[in-house]
């Protein structure tokens, strides 16, 4: 493990193309923050084309991580050239020319979009997702598409039809899921920032396992247009970044009302960097007792408690809060999310696009065989669960009941927020597990989402920031949750911690 230079000045000082080619300062470029990259671009210390070339080269060098599913240098460089041209014309947006990579559930016009499924192999969307479009409009240059669990269903990235993503900290460990490719790419600095999606923890759990910062905004804040739906009432686009500050910068471009998404919230845009210098004195951080109960591994608890002490040292006040039904989040989530998924995935029938089975007897047989061949085991399992819980005679007992408990959990969060400004706790019970360790036991795998699912059900913003390392030098995450639309403060509180710690700035060996 190596610590990068901490300040912007040391990063840009003396850096030149020549040295980049020699490889000496290459990693410094890769380890720069978004603000630093923007500054270097602004001062013409580096061009967008050079930056893109640099990251493409790293992507090519670390192909073994299997983080990327589709890389098209010619498209990336075309975008980079366009960004350089915009800068040459006098445009000076903070993100203009800064590279980014997108999770493969965001549809893109210039890269294939598969949601890591066989059923969409080679699929080319005729339009860009709103999130992709918004970031491109701000001038961000797309490096390619990132591996994930098939249709974002999974907690280890072992459900991708295109192979496992390796954890850059330990190639024997999973990177987390479903945004495993996004987390691994940012951890290994193959991209300075990556989009991701969170339905029940798909941003925060891989962020914790891969030692990066993962942020899920309020449901309804980012547009879902162009995000391949898994569970529509939960799916939320977010980011995997090195720091909270980087996330705030990109959220400014990414989050906003979208008339193409009926669940998008019509609120004015905000500056998510405005609270980065927040004073933590007097801030009340709620600690839910239920998140520190049996099942939480000692090393995770120790790291999280240490982080909470750090906040106390910064002037925050810890208060005990209770989320009595948080543990019901898992069954509720797997009923609601699977129900919605079973319906959302019905469109993949082989009729209009994607895979179509080669041999079949009639139309229905074609659909049956296409879906049997095109979906992986976990997707099929959830479609079956979802179909079951919506079926006549079971709807009330499962779907309706789960919807009621979901409301109760959301109300419990509101009660907790009446006593505190923010809620903190672990992201996962343990550090990243090994490949195959949980894949034979779906319920054990589902329990990996225990601490992340409640805030998803409540639709509140939440993030995971690195707060230490556990056994095998695998990262540990601290979860911070805020009330609806309180992203700016959430990011500020995370940033203050990152100002006095360097867990987030550490880079796995070899990257």
């Amino acid at each position: 493990m190596r610590r990068p230079n901490a300040t912007a000045c040391s990063l840009c000082r003396g850096w030149s193309n020549e040295r980049a080619r020699e490889g000496g300062a290459v990693s410094e470029l890769a380890h720069a923050t978004l603000a630093q990259l923007g500054g270097m671009l602004d001062r013409r210390k580096v061009s967008a084309v050079e930056l893109a070339t640099h990251f493409l080269e790293r992507i090519g060098r670390h192909r073994d991580l299997n983080a990327f599913l589709d890389v098209r240098p010619e498209q990336t460089l075309a975008q980079a050239r366009a960004a350089d041209a915009r800068r040459a014309r006098g445009e000076a947006s903070a993100l203009l020319g800064v590279p980014i990579a997108h999770k493969d559930v965001f549809v893109t016009r210039d890269w294939h979009t598969t949601a890591s499924s066989r059923i969409l192999e080679g699929y080319q969307s005729p339009f860009d997702a709103t999130v992709v479009q918004a970031l491109a409009q701000a001038g961000m240059v797309c490096l390619g598409k990132l591996n994930c669990d098939e249709f974002a269903m999974g907690s280890s990235n072992e459900n991708s039809a295109y192979g496992n993503v390796l954890n850059p900290w330990d190639r024997g460990a999973v990177p987390g899921g479903s945004s495993g490719g996004s987390a691994a790419a940012v951890a290994a600095r193959l991209a300075p920032i990556a989009t991701a999606t969170d339905t029940g923890g798909s941003i925060r759990e891989p962020a914790a396992f891969s030692g990066v910062t993962g942020t899920k905004p309020t449901y309804g804040r980012p547009s879902r247009w162009g995000m391949i739906a898994f569970a529509s009432s939960l799916d939320t686009a977010g980011l995997l970044t090195v720091s909270a500050q980087d996330c705030a910068l990109a959220f400014n471009a990414m989050l906003g009302f979208d008339p193409k998404d009926s669940t998008s919230v019509d609120r004015p845009r905000e500056d998510y960097t405005r609270s980065l210098e927040i004073d933590l004195r007097g801030l009340r951080i709620g600690v839910p007792t239920e998140f520190f109960a049996a099942g939480l591994e000692a090393e995770v608890e120790a790291a999280v408690r240490a982080a909470l002490r750090q906040y106390e040292a910064l002037g925050a006040q810890l208060v005990d809060v209770s989320l009595p039904n948080a543990a019901l989040g898992i069954p509720v989530y797997y009923v609601v999310a699977s129900a919605e998924a079973s319906s959302n995935l019905s469109r993949f029938d082989g009729v209009r696009y994607g895979l179509r089975a080669k041999q079949y007897d009639d139309l229905l047989d074609m659909m049956r065989k296409t879906r049997a061949q095109g979906f992986g085991a976990e997707v099929k399992r959830r479609v079956l669960i979802g179909t079951y819980v919506l079926s006549h005679g079971y709807y009330d007992a499962y779907f309706l009941q789960a919807s009621r408990v979901r409301r109760i959990i959301a109300e419990e969060f509101q009660r907790a927020f009446s006593r505190c400004d923010l809620i903190a706790g672990p992201v996962t019970s343990g550090v990243a597990f090994g490949f195959g360790e949980k894949s034979a036991d779906p319920v054990a795998m589902y329990l990996a989402d225990l601490y992340t699912v409640p805030s998803s059900l409540a639709g509140i913003p939440a993030m995971s920031i690195p707060c230490g390392f556990g056994r095998g030098n695998r990262p540990i995450g601290l979860q911070l949750m805020a009330n609806h639309f309180d992203e700016a403060r959430l990011l500020g509180v995370a940033h203050r911690y990152q100002c006095v710690t360097d867990w987030h700035a550490r880079v796995p060996a070899g990257f």
Binding site: V107, F127, S233, D349, Y353
Partner: protein
Amino acid sequence: MSSAWESVIGLETHAQLLTVSKIFSGAATAFGAAANTQASVVDLALPGVLPVLNVGAVECAIRFGIAVGATIAPRSIFARKNYFYPDLPKGYQISQYEIPVVQGGTLSFPVAPRDGEPYFKTVRLTRAHLEEDAGKSLHEDYQGMSGIDLNRAGTPLLEIVSEPEMRSSAEAVAYARTLHALVMWLAVCDGNMQEGSFRCDANVSVRPAGAQAFGTRVEIKNLNSFRFLQQAIEHEIRRQIELIEDGGRVVQETRLYDPDRDQTRSMRSKEDAADYRYFPDPDLLPLEVSPQWIERIRAQLPELPGAMRERLTREYGLPAQDAAALTASRALAQYFEQVAQAVTDKKAAANWIMGEVSAALNADDISVEQCPVPARELATLIARVGDGTINLKTAKDLFAVLWAREANSVDAVIEARGLKQISDTAAIERIVDEVLAANPAVVAEFRGGKEKALQALVGQAMKATRGKANPQQLNEVLRRKLA
């Protein structure tokens, strides 16, 4: 049909709403475009697309709801109806299930049975809800394959469900006709049944006369004309009665009407009915309708047919049947009012429109909007009959001239062609004298008691005046001279 049995009929009607774009996408709804040219990425259900509700479709539903006196739900829910079919792109249809936007309401209509007195009937509506249409599967043109046209996918529909309160095919057809006229009156549907803009499914059951409990119902689909609706219901009632009288039992099922054979055949039984796994669509927020929105729409509504019917009887002194006929469509009613306001004889205006005008419209198969005779000219025509300038016979000839667009001014034609009625008693007497002198045999027949002979003399006199003689005067003079 055996009078020991009572039939029970309820209708489910799909009215395609007159919006420019689809219910959840911006694609056009126009009929007849080349296959798949009016299907947007949303209609194709490409990965990542989302529905956005077309407010115009909601306004259509509210207009309808107000017109039938229904409750407009302040909050209604869109649900997904899940099933697999090649022309259903998402694998589910977005519809309203538990909480529809229009709840309750009534429809009143005249019924004219083939064997009985006409009467008015009021049927309660259960609900009307918004939903999207599916695409079309085309099996004929592709050998061994099926074509899919998604132009129709996402077209907004209002499904209007009646209570099972109709008791004969005549009532069902009268209900459907009135509903058809109403949705067109409100401009929420173009009513084109050939293009499928207005289609009915009928739920039919029979029970012993006087029984309270309903019999097992059968749903008949594919009824795209009033004639088919009538035939299919009559056929189905016969089939069910015969089945029961032969000791059989009606099974709950969906049957398809085949107009070529005048038969219904089974499509699927209740046992094969799909489990649609309805649940609230998480892509759409609940539809909220404020009282202010309802009032705004109410203020924009045209006068409704029921109210207009009453007003026509009141203001113009028309019989109820006339008022009902004249309010068959909004355009016809407007035409009538324009004519009636310009003449003193309101009943004459009604007669002309229900008679000559309607017959000519039917003969040419055109709508009243395309009527070649402007209301102003028809009014002049009626006035000229009323003031004795021309007789009715001349007026009808003149109407034909106007209809054929050979002239456009009644007064100008009367003048130019010398059609003025001869009401000068002296002139008529002179003509009558000539006719009597020229036809002594006919005169003798009449005087011998043959009343019919008078008509021959009237005919001769009319011929001599080229139809222009005032018929009352002519009759009077003839009778006087023959007395």
